[in-house]
Symmetry: C2
Subunit: 213 residues, 2 copies
């Protein structure tokens, strides 16, 4: 059973998907803490309703991103977090956090990376005119949206799609693959090799899965 910390900035619909997967028995995990950088983020109420402790750490007033992240690491460690899951956390992370949880920070991005990194991925996809879109769960590295890919899922783009209809279709897939990717990483069913996640299909202890634990 892996101990998760989930970081949100808004409604945290992927947090809810993770909590559902745990409740359904699809994911053997416990969310030890939900951290939001935004006071009153709707996801905080969902976490509380599920009995999950919440912490708000405003991003305002810190002398540097590094000091913010150092404080965040302290909060996650205090809750014995083993795996950090970004769920709509609108902050760029520094190596201070990433190195504190080597190969143990996951993010979900609403595009088939490496296509359309960064903000407004769904709009980028529509404006580019792609006919297939999707989402990517990846390990977080200091380069935004470029870490090893654990899972991806694709969806069609329809002729009458707007950013909202496409985003909703992609979000359904995010909710499906994010808990599954958490399971793969937490059960050690793969390892990081260069810039790739190599699925091994063989369980290894969480702390040894990347040879650094």
């Amino acid at each position: 059973m892996v101990t998760l910390g989930v970081l949100i900035s808004g409604r945290g619909s992927n947090l809810q998907a993770i909590l559902r997967a745990i409740a359904d028995g699809r994911l053997s995990a416990r969310v030890a803490v939900v951290v939001s950088n935004i006071e009153g983020a709707p996801g905080l109420a969902h976490a509380s309703a599920a009995g999950v402790p919440t912490v708000v750490i405003s991003h305002r007033g810190w002398p540097s991103r590094e000091e913010y992240d150092a404080h965040l690491v302290g909060v996650l460690r205090a809750h014995h977090v083993e795996l950090v899951c970004l769920a709509g956390f609108m902050r760029r992370l520094t190596p201070v956090l990433i190195d504190a949880f080597p190969h143990r920070v996951l993010n979900v991005h609403p595009s088939l990376l490496p296509a359309f990194p960064g903000v407004d991925a769904q709009r980028q996809a529509l404006e580019h005119g792609v006919r297939v879109a999707g989402c990517t769960v990846h390990l977080v590295t200091p380069t935004i949206d470029a870490g090893p890919i654990v899972l991806q899922a694709c969806v069609p783009v329809t002729d009458d799609d707007t950013v909202d209809t496409l985003a909703a279709r992609i979000l359904e897939e995010e909710h499906r693959v994010y808990p599954e990717a958490i399971r793969l990483v937490s059960e050690g069913l793969g390892r990081v090799e260069g810039r790739r996640w190599i699925s091994t299909g063989r369980t290894a202890p969480l702390s040894d899965a990347d040879g650094r634990g």
Copy 2:
């Protein structure tokens, strides 16, 4: 019934897929000529077996790409070609050919563009570590692999994929979507708007489909 010219350099498996789609009645078209820049390309024999005239225009010995393309345009025009389909044609086209068939040159590329343009797309995808790959049928513009996207299809990448197994899985999808994309373009079921192909789902005459005919 649209008149096609198909350009190949090798086995031309997509040519065979186009010929099958025509034979099956999925595509109302006639392949008027198959052009190869390589003498003895295996696809030439397939074309001949199907009763399709073939022409070899070696790329060697031309003073410029433009003069090669001008000759190619002459051959295509002589066969009354309306829509040019690249099927593994390993030559970069110049505006001489592209402008002779405005929005009427199609290519299929073995990746989900804009990811992995250029050569060895399947290897690029594997090395990047994506979990979803695919193919793209697009209109050809002078910028390689960047023209308006007509259709895309995705395939999973499996843990034990090699470049060959992934390429074979993608190729099956190429064979499925390329004839369908030819149908969409030739029946005028879309138009080009900026860098996008906008599917309209409404038939327009081929010559007026892009407002330039």
